[in-house]
Every structure is written in structure tokens, then in C-alpha cells.
């Protein structure tokens, strides 16, 4: 057996930086409560400016004024590690996560395909660099030893068990992956290397540090199995159908599409989840594929509904070339919240539920043609309604009557002075975003008997502006 360990010393930082254009100015990841943020990781420029992890953000900003920061996200860290594991899965059937910053893979069986080791390691390094992750790699007879060696000697290669103990002897105690209690205490007893530690009587060690230390030592020497969790590829849906010939007819595509979407629906149902976004890919022989990305307002898992929407989108899509393969892919599967059905539901058979209608409209008219309208608590009439925001909880404050039709912007009210029916309602507000208004609103009757909503400056009865009509 030969195990390779890929250690990613700057996983958090690289994970944050790989999505940005290259940066040579100081950058740091920060975390902690607002009042006492601390640096979690810093890039080279920040380090050169004198910053280091653990420093308080306020101090860091005092030292380095042009420091750019981003929040540290532990979930992102785990996701990036999973990404590396998925990548490694292409090279070995046995991949395990060694969180927080390493993965191990069985390399012995892969050497035939990718080896010898130097070449294999070279390829790993090249691809990791391409992915944007700095790394340290080592090979050892067991995963634990590989991990420890990768942390201390990048590029270490210990082929056999006989050389292992020698290779481990110089490893500093603090970097040997020992249980924290032992790793903290041993240097204080003058024990600084693994070699010194291995020379001490095991019984005395067990008495002081418990069985955990002994287990760790035996794992390092390969006398016990490694504690890492094997990696399994994630559950997402990918379905694909190929044809030996190019298909040009939309109708011909509908059947396979319905089947793939059925599979998708089955898959998400099995996971008791729903799908909110999926993509349909039409592959062509000599051209880039045509992709349809379909997003829903709420998770769905009814095959018929999914098909309905996809079909509508397909009908409005022009396929430039014959299709040789069709794929459906759903990357993220959010949990599904089923709509409850009343036992005595008397919906006519041909009626469709509102959600489905809404999706159908969106699919046919485009995502930006259908909106939800909601009341907004903003006191300024122009901003008292909002698109696509869920209604705020609780009732809005009781307001005096508002016009049925509010003009998009007020216009001068010409003609003779209107007859005041009620008011004023004085509004002086909105300063916080620079949109301060000061108005006295009145319900007025104008010449033709129509009731209007109009305002003038506070305390005055001139300069009338019309802002709405009452029904």
C-alpha cells in the first residue's frame, strides 16, 4: 500500500481568492463577532505588511490601511475540501477526507495508470495549481504518516514501512497530529520530536495521556487503521441520452426529455427533496452545445410540472444544429415543501393551481414579466409598494385612505384651486437615503367631480401636485 496525502495549507484563503482576479494587495479573511473581528488568514502582501492570523482586525487596519477583507466561511472550507476530494476521485477509488485541510488517496494501485510516483505527483501538482490551490504532497505507507509528512516535508516519499520510523523521528511533536492534550503537554516535558516520544515507555505514556495518544502513534506506524472517512461522490442528478444520428425535430426531443425529467423527479423524490433549478443541454456534433437553464420560484418535484415548464421553454428556443445528445443536470437539490391539498378539494379538473400557473406564465413570458406586488412599510407613497419581496410579517400601520391609482411620479395639478375634501396628511420623511419629502396631502375634488390625491408644500395651499386618483 502507498498513500498520498494532499495537504492544502492555505485552503481557506485560496478558496476565497480563486474566484477573484489575481490580487497583489493585502487581503485577509476575518471572522468573529463584529466588535472583535480577528484575521483568520492573510495573503503574502498582507503578511509583508506585518499582518498575521489571530490579529485583531482593528489593529490590522491601523497597521495597513488599504487592507481588503472578506468573511471567513467554514462551510466554504468544507465545500472546497470536498471539491478537492472529488477531483482526487478521478485518480483513485480510495479517497478519504482528512479535515480540515487535507485529503488522502491510495496511490499504489494508481501508479500503474499514472505512475511512476514522481510523474504522478507532478500531475497532481500541476492540476492543483490549475485549480488555484497551494499544496503539499507526501507519499507514505499509511495515510496518517502521509498526512504528517506532507505537513512537515513537502515532497517526502517514504516507500516502505522499514524507512518509516526513521522518517518520522525528526518530526516536531507539535506537528505530528497528536491529540491536543498530549501535543500541548509534551514540549513542556522536553519531548520535542516524534523520535523522542517513540523512545519513551508506552505504558508511562498511556498513563499520562490516555489511550488516544497510543492509538495515534500506532496509526502513524501503520499498526492501526487510519481514522479518515472515505469519500463518496455527492448526490446530484445527471442524466444523458445519446442518439446515433442528429435530431432536428422538436417533437422528437420531447419524449426523451420527458423521461429524463421523470428520472430527475424520481431522484429528487427519493431524496425527499425538490428541484429549483436544472439545466437541459442539447449537444451538437460540431458546435457548442445549446443550454437551457430553468429556474423555478419554488422547489418542484412533479414530473408533469417540470416537463410542462421545460417544454414551454424548448418551444421558444431555436436549435441551430441537429442534436446528438440530450442531458439534464440538477446540481443543487433543495428541500421540498409540498403544497397541502384539502381532502375535499373541489378544484375543476382542468384548472391548474396558482403556483403552476405562475410558473407557466414565467416560462412563457420570461422571468421578468411576472411579479408579485407587496406593501412596503416605507412612509413615502412612491415607495410604499414593492415588487417580488415577500410581504413583511404583521399588519402595516393603519394609514389614512390611499388612492386606487398612484401616479408613477407626481405631476403639476393645473386649473383652478381644487376643492379640499379632507386633509392635510403631512408627510415629512425619507431623509436617510437622500429622498426626503415634505408634503401636505389632501383629498381634493377637481372640476369634473373626480376625486384626486394631491399635495402642496407644508402649510401652503399653492403649487399643487397631483399624485393619484380615487376610484
Amino acid at each position: 500500500m502507498a498513500w498520498a496525502c494532499v495537504l492544502l495549507p492555505s485552503l481557506a484563503l485560496d478558496g476565497a481568492l480563486r474566484n477573484r482576479p489575481p490580487l497583489d494587495t493585502p487581503f485577509a479573511l476575518v471572522s468573529g463577532p463584529v466588535q472583535q473581528r480577528r484575521l483568520v488568514a492573510v495573503n503574502a502582501a498582507a503578511r509583508a505588511a506585518g499582518l498575521h492570523p489571530g490579529q485583531r482586525l482593528a489593529t490590522a487596519q491601523a497597521i495597513c490601511r488599504d487592507l481588503a477583507t472578506a468573511g471567513h466561511d467554514p462551510h466554504q472550507l468544507a465545500a472546497n475540501l470536498a471539491l478537492i476530494a472529488a477531483w482526487a476521485y478521478r485518480f483513485s477509488a480510495e479517497v478519504a477526507l482528512a479535515p480540515p485541510r487535507a485529503i488522502v488517496l491510495e496511490a499504489g494501485k494508481s501508479l500503474g495508470l499514472f505512475g511512476p510516483w514522481p510523474r504522478f505527483a507532478g500531475r497532481l501538482r500541476q492540476e492543483l495549481a490549475g485549480l488555484g490551490f497551494r499544496h503539499q504532497i507526501a507519499l507514505a505507507p499509511n495515510p496518517c504518516a502521509a498526512k504528517v509528512l506532507a505537513g512537515v516535508h513537502d515532497g517526502a516519499c517514504v516507500p516502505g514501512a522499514s524507512a518509516l520510523e526513521r522518517a518520522l523521528a525528526d518530526i516536531p511533536i507539535t506537528r505530528a497530529g497528536l491529540p491536543p492534550a498530549a501535543a500541548d503537554a509534551l514540549p513542556g516535558m522536553g519531548v520535542r520530536t516524534l523520535g523522542q516520544l517513540l523512545a519513551l515507555p508506552r505504558a508511562a505514556l498511556q498513563r499520562r495521556f490516555g489511550a488516544a495518544l497510543i492509538t495515534t502513534l500506532e496509526q502513524l506506524l501503520g499498526q492501526q487503521p487510519a481514522p479518515f472517512t472515505p469519500y463518496r461522490p455527492p448526490d446530484h442528478f445527471v442524466g444523458r441520452i445519446e442518439w446515433p444520428f442528429g435530431v432536428t425535430n422538436h417533437t422528437t426531443l420531447l419524449f426523451p426529455l420527458r423521461r429524463l425529467l421523470g428520472d430527475l423527479a424520481a431522484c429528487v423524490a427519493a431524496r425527499d427533496s425538490g428541484v429549483q433549478q436544472f439545466s437541459v443541454r442539447f449537444e451538437h456534433e460540431h458546435a457548442a452545445p445549446t443550454d437551457l437553464t430553468i429556474g423555478l420560484l419554488a422547489p418542484q418535484r412533479e414530473a408533469a410540472a417540470l416537463f410542462d415548464i421545460a417544454k414551454l421553454r424548448l418551444e421558444r428556443t431555436a436549435l441551430p444544429h441537429p442534436v446528438i445528445a440530450l442531458g439534464v443536470r440538477a446540481a443543487t437539490l433543495p428541500p421540498f415543501v409540498p403544497t397541502g391539498h384539502d381532502l375535499f378539494d373541489t378544484r375543476p379538473a382542468n384548472a391548474i393551481p396558482w403556483e403552476q400557473l405562475r410558473e407557466r406564465l414565467r416560462a412563457r413570458l420570461g422571468e421578468h414579466a411576472v411579479h408579485r406586488l407587496a406593501a412596503d412599510p416605507d412612509p413615502r407613497p412612491e415607495r410604499a409598494s414593492a415588487y417580488d419581496t415577500p410581504a413583511s410579517p404583521g399588519d402595516p400601520p393603519p394609514l389614512p385612505p390611499r388612492p386606487t391609482w398612484l401616479l408613477e411620479r407626481p405631476i403639476p395639478l393645473r386649473g383652478p384651486t381644487p376643492h379640499i375634501l379632507a386633509g392635510p396628511e403631512r408627510l415629512e420623511t425619507g431623509w436617510w437615503d437622500g429622498g426626503d419629502i415634505r408634503r401636505d396631502y389632501y383629498i381634493v375634488e377637481i372640476g369634473n367631480g373626480q376625486r384626486a390625491w394631491a399635495f402642496c408644500p407644508p402649510g401652503e395651499r399653492t403649487g399643487w401636485m397631483l399624485h393619484g386618483w380615487f376610484a
Binding site: 513542556g188 499520562r208 396628511e425 415629512e428 420623511t429 436617510w432
Partner: protein
């Protein structure tokens, strides 16, 4: 709508800075109906009211209001300020409070008379005590009695619930009104009609009210902001909760007349006329129970004083002292202050009976009576110049006695007071916490939606802003655009928020004790600390009403001195008390003149040490000056250098007049104390004593009112009229302003000087006991345990390491058996082991007393040490004698089995483990990590070869360098300080194996090498060595960060901002 056409001829009134220009012309018109506002919140309704009582009253006067009620929500915390503002503006104050019951019923309660005021106080107390800090809870049951003596205004909800009105009518009867509050938030006529109909149906009168939240419409942005902050939301999130217009201000009477029927406006006057209660009618009595039967307070105080005199002067007091005492007793009797003196005496008596050292200070404390009673140890004969500033009957100023207690034992005193008077009659004074730059910016920026990181940056940039100085550079530096609208909004609102009250907190130790339950006098509420209650007034409020309070403060030096005295007694060296420490000892003054003052009370700081060799104190009064002179007040008033020049004969001592000479003679013509500035105002500017007292309050509280400027004109005119130069007048006023922020009264300085002298005498003559006591009293003072121990060793005191065989919890003295008269050695105590618990140490001492420990297993077993205690002792080197070096000790204690087998040896023998001994460097590191100090070689000494190679000199070599030499030094940074008054200068203190080096870093260097300055633990400095008048400084020209040499040495710098 006639308001705008009425000709306006308002009288010119003062103090309307910031008033709306639009309102300036037509605020106080004639012809509009008289009006009294009965529902108005000040900024003591935290998170709601946007104007101070003073702003409200000035506006009310401009508008010609007949009266103004201040009705803060379930609070009277702002009512004394309102009382003062009412007095100053002549607009009568109606006292009241707005209340919301738990079922949503809202009303305003107004105090009609003293009975009603008492009921109001009790109601607020009940509500506040029933909820956590800052909140209250009241139910209908709390109103069941109908609160006789109060008037109630019902505040119906937007949709009025008639049942509420009926219920209130049942409780308050003819004392109930329906408040009609019209704010143009809906059609006013319709609302008015609805509410008057409702009032009519209920058979109660309706009255106009304003629900006022601010004095001017222009405060609406600040009011919105407070709403958002109160709800912990941004303004955008809170947009639905804001008032939709700015009508809730003190409106012009014409505007009200246009809105309300005359009858409703009339009614406000009827109510205001009924409310005749004012705060000066409060009757406050000090507790009477301290006087035994057969005595009056007067005879009892005389009796106690007589006994005290006999104690102080067993041979009989001098005629002068007796005359002084007679004079004081007569004055006390005339003003009726005996109960106050008796109360303080009782507290001090309790402390003394418990062996708690205490010391009074303050104007009255330095009286012969207080000396006789033992409240202070300052012999009035010794500091004879002080007596004249005893309480004066002309000034009608309440006596002021603060009592300092040992900091570790003050709680016992507080508990005694609570026990003796009960929680109903004793409570702690409130302290009003006001917005400062940092908290204001933070709240404003957060409410305006600035992201947290930017908010941090901004509040950092505006750290000490006073609301006035230009900020553009600082903002640019921090990466903000000062011209952007959002930044301008933030600054504008920050300025408006600065200095406004934010919440009530508890004063450090001010007690109010009353004969009647306090809640009849002032509301009492819960403090953040459990089992603590505070009254809703702060010390200035009490001062304004002439209520007496006793400050029970905690002082570390008293702990230290008591422990020193105990040690001396215990080791049969001396039997002394504070009062019997030999006075005016030349050796002590010689030490002080050398600035050898590490550990000495008040004069141990770096700034004080720089002053001592220049001032060269050689008698007690010099110490009084020394204590008072190194303060922001004298520094900002530029008084130090004139005083030193005159003292050292470099400048002639002159006085502009004989009057001034009488005031300033003892300080060579330079005012140094608060009292002198007041006295100058009297003799030179023609103030009456009463006015000077006002001036003193303005000085102490000019932040509160911002009205010290009005004294400028008076002082200048008064002095010119008496023949003084304009220059002298300006100088006096500037000095006065300097004192305003940080004045130090002579009466306090005298008490502090006594403790400074006592501690200096101990350091000089009993250094071992003094340092030992100091180490046992930490944390206190200016220096760390490491610096104290180094200082002791430099003075030839032996210090022995922590050792489980001999160390107690406290540090102890170990007598030299060969020479018992010599200074003992100090054995470090287990308390220095960071993280070790006192009970573990106690068990070690107890087990050791039975018989000596044989080995570490024996220690662990018999002292019952847990894993953490074992680890800490091994790490601190306390097991050296039992288990060998640290590595071996840690290995040994880790191997002690927690579970004992029934028979046989506790821990089975095991083969020895070969562990390398720690290096010196490792020991040093472990010493610092576990105790913060080392008795081994100093870390800088261990690096000397490397530092020598970098041409760094030892501090001992520096001391011999001529002034002006170019030198390089290096040391651990023990202090990094950038005082506010020092104009950007940073003071750094470096420590090496010989001692300390004081470094001065000018602003431009600090800016250029900011990173090195902030980050270096081991700092190298190139610079110019300055040595003048025995004061030595290194003026930095270049800094080096040598910290990498130190590795991970845990040396904790104390950063002072």
C-alpha cells in the same frame, strides 16, 4: 390660517443656537391663546426624546408657553435638569411621566402636589423594580388606588378603546382628561370630532396635548435615528415605525390655535394651574437613628468629637485646635449637617471595627472635626492652609466627604449600609452614561446601514472626536469620502447625538441614605448588577437639590497600606497606623526627589516621575501640589511651567493685587487647585460666594449644559472693572476652562498626598514589607508584578521563587536569621501563578503544616490537587524541590494516578524517563507565561550578545551618557501611551536587565514607523539622549523591531490609549 400675518416682534432671547431660521421670526407672538404643553419627552426617555430639557424650555419660552410638563416614559431621571432649565427660563415645570401598561393602555400622569409626586415615584419604582435594567412593567393593578394627588391624561390608541377610558374614569374620576393629540397624520378635523365625541360620551373633559419628542421640527432626523437604534434596526428596516412627519415638536401657539378649539387649549392652563408641586418642596432628612436617647444630633456629635480629640491628643489638644473645633461645630450646627457627619462617622466606625482601612477626602473631610472623628488622618495642623476651605455658610454648599476603602473589602461596607438602612432607604446614585464619539458613530453608522467592517473603521477614525474639529483628513485616511452624502449624514447625526444621555448606570460608590423610604423621594430602579438598586438621579442632580450623598469608593493603595502595617506588626518591626507614620521624614523626601517612586501612590507614573526631580518636594504641602499638578487641568491651562520657573527662582513671583496674593500665595501666584479658581472669581471678578458656587458647578458640569461661556463676559468685565489687565482675565478664564474638564480640588489632593507620603515612607524604610503588600494587593497601580519585583531587587531586597514547600497564597516575608534587623526576603506567593485557585493554595498550606511533602505524589494526594493545579504548579517551577526541573516536574505530576488503588503504593514505580532539562531561555519563557515575571536572568540580558552586535547600549550605560549624545537602546516594551493632552506624542517605556528607559516618539516618526511602533515587543531605538534636571529621556529618531529575537516570549505590554 392667520398665523403668518401676525406681526412678529419677538424679544431677543439667548441660547437658541441651531433653531430653525424659519421659526426665529415668529415664535413668540402675541395674540395667540395661552397654552401649556402637558405631554413632552426629554432625551431621558432613552431612544425616544431627541431634545434636552434645556432645549425644550428655551423653545417653550420663545413660544410663550405658560408651562411645560416633562413626562419621560416611566422615569424621573431627567426631571432635575428640567427643574433647573425651568428655573433658568422662568417657564414653570409640571412634573409627570408617560406610562404604558402591559395591556397597552397609555396615559400621562402629572404630579398635582407633593402627595401625587410621592405616588408617582412609588409607581415608577414599582414598575422599574419589576423588570430588568432599562425596562419596566406595570399593570392595571398598579393604578388601582387612583394615585391621589396626580392628574391623568388618557392617551387613546389610533382606534380608541372606550373601555380603557371607562376604566380610568373609575380610578381617577374628575382627575382624568382625554388627551387630543393632532399631528396631521390623518385628517385632523375628523380625528378631533371623533375624540371630542368620545370624551363627551365618557363624561370627561378633553385637552390638547402635543406628544412632544423634540423641541424643533429640525430634530426629526435625530428622532428617527433614535427610533431605529431603540429597535436595533437600520432606518430602512425601521421605516414603518418612524413618525411620518415632524409635528411632534413644541409648536407655535398660532399653529395650535389653528388646529384645536379654544376650549381644549384653555383646558391645558387649568391643568397646569392645578399642578403646583415643584422639586424645591421636597423634604429630605438624613437618618435619625444614629443618635442615642437623651442626645440631640448636636450634642452627640460634640460628644463624639470630644472623645476623638482625647484619642488624637492624649495630652490634650492645643488651644488653636480646640478653637478650630468649636468654630466648626458651631457652623455644622447652624447648617444642620450633624446627621451627615454622624452617618459618615458610623460607616467609618464600622470599617475600623472590621479592620478595614479607610480615609476621607473632600472639603469637609479636611476639617478638625473629621480628624478627631478619625474620618481622615490629615492633621489639620499639619496642612493648616486647608482649613479655610471648610464648608461655608454663605455658599450654602452641602459638605462633601468621599471615603475611600480598601478595594478588596469595600463590598463589606456596602453590605453594611444596605443591612443597616435597608434597601428602601439606601441606594446607589445613578451615573448617566452619555454618547461619546465612538458609541455615537457606531450607532449612527449602523442605523444608516453601513456594513459592520466600515462601521468599525469609521468609529476607529473618529475615536475621540469632539464634534467640532475638521475631520476630512482622518476620513480620507480611513478610506471614506467626506463629501459623500451618506458620510455627511453620518457626521451630522453623530454631532447631534454626541453627549446625549444613553442609559443609566450605577455610580462607582455614591450612596444616598434617607430617613423616609427613598422611593417617596425619587424613583429607584434595578442596576445591571444583581441585588443592586440605583436611584434615577446622578450626583449633579443631588447637588442641584442639596441632597447629601456619601461616596464609598474603592482604593487599592489602602489595601496595600493595611497589609503593610499588618506585616510590620506581625514581624514585630513597627506598630504604626496611618496617623502615626513619622511625618516630614527627610530620607523619604530625598527618595522622592530622586523619582524613586515605583509603587508609591499617585506619584509613580512616568509623568509624575518626570516632575519629581524638577519639583523637588521637601515637605507635605509640596506633595499636595505634586499630586494635583500632573493633571490634564493644569496641563491644558499651561500652569506647570510658570509654577516650576517661579519655584526654581527663574521667574519673579508677582501678584496683580493683594487680594490675588492671598489666594495664590501658597502656589506662588499660579492657580493649581479648583478652589483657587473659584476664590479668584470672587476676589478678582466680583462674584458672590453663591455665584462662585454656580461657577464651580458650571466647571464640573459644563458638558451638561455647555454654558460656561456665559461666564467669560462676566469674568472679563468684572476683572477689568477691578483694574486687572485683559490679558490676566483671559488667562484666568482659560485656566478655568481647563479645570472644567479635569479640575482637581486641593481638599482631595491633600488626602491623596497623605497616602502618597505614607506609601513613600514605607517604600523608603520598610521596602520588603511594602513590596510584599503591594504584590498581594494587585491588580492596582501603574506597574506589573514583574516591574515591582525588579524594582525590589534593585533596592537590595531578596526575592525567593514560588515553592510549594514554603509559599502561601500571598507573598510572605522570610526573616534573615543572621540579621533580624535587616530587611526580610520576599517569598513569592502562589497567587502569582496565573490561573491557580486560592482554595488549592490553602489546601497546600494546610497539608504542609501537618508535615513536609515527601514528593510530588504526596503533594498531589494530601493537597487534593486537580490536573489543572498540578500542571500550573509544575509549569511555574513551584515543584523544583520535589521533582526537579520543569520537564521532570511536569512528567512527574502527569503520572500521578487520579484513582487511588485500595492497597499499596499510590502510584506504581515506573522506569525513569530520560528527559532533557530546559534551557535558561525555556525557563524564562515558562516564568513569564505562568507568572508574568522571572527571577532568572532578564530576557534582554540573555540577548545582550546579539544586541551588543547591533550596537545597543544597556540602560545603565545610557544614564552616564552626556545629554545630547546619539545612542541606540533596546528593551521590552512595557508601556505604550499616547495621552490626549500630549498632541500626538507617544511615550514608550523600554525595559532591559538594568531598568527602564523612557522614550519619546514624535508624531511624524510614529506615523512613519507605525507598524514597528505598534507591533514590536522588543524595540530598538536610535535617538538623542536628553538629560536635564535629573530627568532622562531618549528622543527617538528611528525604530527597529527586534521581536524576532525573542521567539515566543510572553511579555505583556500594557497599551494605554
Amino acid at each position: 390660517m392667520t398665523a403668518r400675518t401676525i406681526p412678529a416682534t419677538p424679544p431677543a432671547l439667548c441660547g437658541t443656537k441651531g433653531a430653525d431660521a424659519r421659526h426665529r421670526g415668529d415664535a413668540g407672538t402675541v395674540g395667540a391663546p395661552a397654552y401649556a404643553e402637558l405631554h413632552c419627552l426629554s432625551d431621558f426617555s432613552f431612544g425616544r426624546g431627541a431634545s434636552s430639557a434645556r432645549e425644550l424650555f428655551v423653545r417653550a419660552r420663545r413660544c410663550g408657553y405658560t408651562a411645560l410638563a416633562i413626562t419621560d416614559e416611566c422615569s424621573l431621571a431627567g426631571i432635575v435638569r428640567a427643574h433647573e432649565a425651568a428655573r433658568d427660563t422662568g417657564v414653570p415645570l409640571v412634573i409627570g411621566s408617560e406610562i404604558r401598561l402591559d395591556d397597552g393602555l397609555r396615559l400621562v400622569l402629572l404630579a398635582e402636589n407633593a402627595v401625587g409626586y410621592t405616588h408617582l415615584c412609588e409607581l415608577i419604582t414599582r414598575g422599574r423594580r419589576a423588570a430588568g435594567k432599562g425596562a419596566y412593567r406595570l399593570t392595571r393593578a398598579d393604578l388601582a388606588t387612583g394615585l391621589p394627588g396626580t392628574l391623568a391624561l388618557w392617551l387613546p390608541a389610533a382606534v380608541p378603546e372606550r373601555a380603557q377610558g371607562e376604566w380610568l374614569h373609575g380610578r381617577f374620576g374628575e382627575r382624568l382628561w382625554l388627551a387630543v393629540e393632532l399631528h396631521h397624520d390623518t385628517d385632523a378635523a375628523a380625528k378631533l370630532a371623533r375624540l371630542t365625541a368620545l370624551a363627551h360620551a365618557l363624561g370627561i373633559p378633553a385637552v390638547a396635548a402635543g406628544d412632544v419628542h423634540m423641541h424643533l421640527r429640525s430634530r426629526r432626523a435625530l428622532q428617527d435615528l433614535l427610533t431605529a437604534v431603540r429597535n436595533h434596526q437600520t432606518l430602512i428596516e425601521a421605516r414603518g415605525l418612524l413618525f411620518r412627519n415632524g409635528e411632534r415638536h413644541l409648536r407655535r401657539r398660532e399653529a395650535l390655535a389653528a388646529l384645536y378649539p379654544a376650549a381644549l387649549i384653555e383646558e391645558t392652563l387649568r391643568i397646569a394651574r392645578r399642578c403646583t408641586f415643584a422639586l424645591d418642596q421636597l423634604h429630605y432628612h438624613y437618618p435619625a437613628e444614629l443618635v442615642p436617647g437623651g442626645h440631640t444630633p448636636t450634642t452627640w456629635l460634640r460628644e463624639l468629637t470630644k472623645e476623638g480629640l482625647a484619642r488624637r491628643w492624649p495630652g490634650g489638644a492645643s488651644p488653636a485646635v480646640r478653637a478650630q473645633v468649636e468654630h466648626e461645630l458651631a457652623l455644622i450646627a447652624e447648617l444642620g449637617y450633624e446627621p451627615y457627619f454622624l452617618t459618615v462617622n458610623d460607616i467609618v466606625h464600622f470599617a475600623r471595627a472590621r479592620g478595614i482601612l479607610c480615609q476621607g477626602r473632600g472639603s469637609a473631610a479636611n476639617s478638625a472635626v473629621c480628624f478627631a472623628l478619625g474620618i481622615t488622618a490629615v492633621d489639620p495642623a499639619r496642612a493648616n492652609t486647608l482649613v479655610e476651605r471648610f464648608i461655608s455658610k454663605e455658599r450654602n454648599e452641602p459638605p462633601d466627604i468621599d471615603v475611600d476603602f480598601e478595594h478588596e473589602r469595600r463590598e463589606e461596607v456596602l453590605q453594611y449600609i444596605y443591612r443597616k438602612y435597608g434597601r428602601e432607604r439606601a441606594a446607589i446614585t445613578a451615573e448617566v452614561i452619555c454618547y461619546r464619539a465612538r458609541s455615537a458613530v457606531r450607532d449612527v453608522a449602523t442605523a444608516l446601514g453601513l456594513p459592520p467592517d466600515a462601521t468599525d473603521k469609521l468609529s476607529f477614525a473618529l475615536g475621540h472626536w469632539n464634534g467640532e474639529t475638521p475631520l476630512d483628513d482622518r476620513l480620507h485616511e480611513a478610506g471614506f469620502d467626506p463629501a459623500s452624502p451618506s458620510i455627511r449624514r453620518i457626521l451630522h447625526l453623530t454631532r447631534a447625538l454626541l453627549g446625549r444621555p444613553r442609559h443609566l448606570s450605577q455610580h462607582v460608590g455614591g450612596f444616598v441614605i434617607s430617613d423616609a423610604p427613598l422611593a417617596t423621594l425619587v424613583p429607584v430602579e434595578n442596576a445591571a448588577m444583581p441585588e443592586r438598586t440605583i436611584i434615577q438621579w446622578d450626583k449633579d442632580d443631588l447637588d442641584a437639590l442639596g441632597l447629601l450623598k456619601v461616596d464609598c469608593l474603592a482604593l487599592g493603595m489602602l489595601t496595600c497600606l493595611r497589609k503593610t502595617l499588618d506585616l510590620l506588626r506581625q514581624h514585630q518591626r513597627q506598630d504604626l497606623t496611618l496617623a502615626t507614620i513619622p511625618a516630614e521624614d527627610p530620607a523619604t523626601y530625598a527618595m522622592l526627589q530622586r523619582a524613586d517612586t515605583v509603587g508609591v501612590f499617585q506619584i509613580e507614573s512616568r509623568a509624575q516621575m518626570a516632575m519629581l526631580p524638577r519639583l523637588k518636594p521637601d515637605h507635605f504641602y509640596d506633595l499636595v501640589i505634586e499630586v494635583a499638578i500632573v493633571r490634564p487641568g493644569p496641563i491644558q491651562g499651561d500652569m506647570i511651567h510658570p509654577y516650576l520657573r517661579r519655584r526654581n527662582g527663574k521667574e519673579a513671583v508677582t501678584y496683580p493685587s493683594a487680594d490675588v496674593k492671598a489666594v495664590l500665595e501658597r502656589t506662588l501666584g499660579v492657580p493649581l487647585f479648583q478652589e483657587q479658581v473659584m476664590k479668584l472669581a470672587i476676589v478678582a471678578a466680583g462674584y458672590t460666594p453663591g455665584q462662585a458656587d454656580q461657577l464651580r458647578r458650571s466647571m464640573a458640569a459644563w458638558k451638561r449644559h455647555g454654558d460656561i461661556e456665559r461666564h467669560r463676559e462676566r469674568i472679563t468685565q468684572g476683572m477689568l472693572a477691578r483694574g486687572y489687565t485683559a490679558e490676566f482675565a483671559t488667562q484666568l478664564f482659560d485656566q478655568l476652562k481647563g479645570f472644567g474638564s479635569y479640575g482637581f480640588p486641593e481638599s482631595h489632593a491633600a488626602s491623596f498626598a497623605l497616602l502618597a507620603y505614607a506609601s513613600a515612607w514605607m517604600k523608603c524604610h520598610e521596602p520588603a514589607a511594602f513590596m510584599c503588600a503591594l504584590l498581594n494587593s494587585l491588580p492596582m497601580g501603574f506597574y506589573s508584578e514583574s516591574q515591582l519585583v525588579q524594582d525590589a531587587r534593585r533596592h537590595g531586597i531578596q526575592v525567593h521563587p514560588v515553592d510549594v514547600r514554603c509559599s502561601d497564597w500571598d507573598c510572605t516575608l522570610e526573616r534573615n536569621p543572621d540579621d533580624p534587623a535587616a530587611q526580610s526576603a520576599i517569598r513569592l506567593g502562589l497567587r502569582l501563578v496565573r490561573g491557580l485557585r486560592a482554595d488549592a493554595a490553602a489546601r497546600i498550606s494546610a497539608a504542609r503544616a501537618q508535615h513536609a511533602f515527601t514528593d510530588s505524589a504526596d503533594l498531589v494526594e494530601r493537597a487534593g490537587l486537580d490536573a489543572s493545579a498540578r500542571r500550573l504548579l509544575a509549569a511555574a517551577g513551584a515543584l523544583r524541590a520535589l521533582a526537579g526541573h520543569r520537564h521532570a516536574a511536569r512528567w512527574a505530576v502527569a503520572g500521578v494516578e487520579p484513582e487511588r488503588p485500595l492497597f499499596g503504593l499510590a502510584s506504581p514505580p515506573e522506569p525513569g524517563a530520560a528527559l532533557p532539562p530546559p534551557t535558561t531561555w525555556e525557563d524564562t519563557r515558562a516564568d513569564y507565561a505562568t507568572m508574568g515575571l522571572t527571577l532568572g536572568p532578564h530576557p534582554v540580558g540573555q540577548l545582550r550578545a546579539q544586541l551588543r552586535a547591533r550596537r545597543c547600549r544597556r540602560s545603565r550605560e545610557l544614564k552616564a551618557c552626556p545629554s545630547g549624545s546619539r545612542v541606540r537602546a533596546a528593551g521590552l516594551v512595557t508601556l505604550r501611551q499616547r495621552p490626549h493632552a500630549a498632541h500626538g506624542v507617544t511615550f514608550v517605556t523600554l525595559e532591559d536587565e538594568d531598568g527602564m528607559v523612557n522614550v519619546i516618539i514624535w508624531r511624524d516618526l510614529a506615523e512613519r514607523q507605525r507598524r514597528t511602533l505598534l507591533a514590536a515587543t522588543l524595540l530598538g531605538v536610535d535617538g538623542r539622549w536628553e538629560s536635564v534636571d535629573g530627568v532622562q529621556n531618549l528622543i527617538a529618531e528611528r525604530l527597529f523591531d527586534y521581536s524576532p529575537l525573542l521567539g515566543a516570549l510572553d511579555s505583556r505590554s500594557r497599551d494605554f490609549r
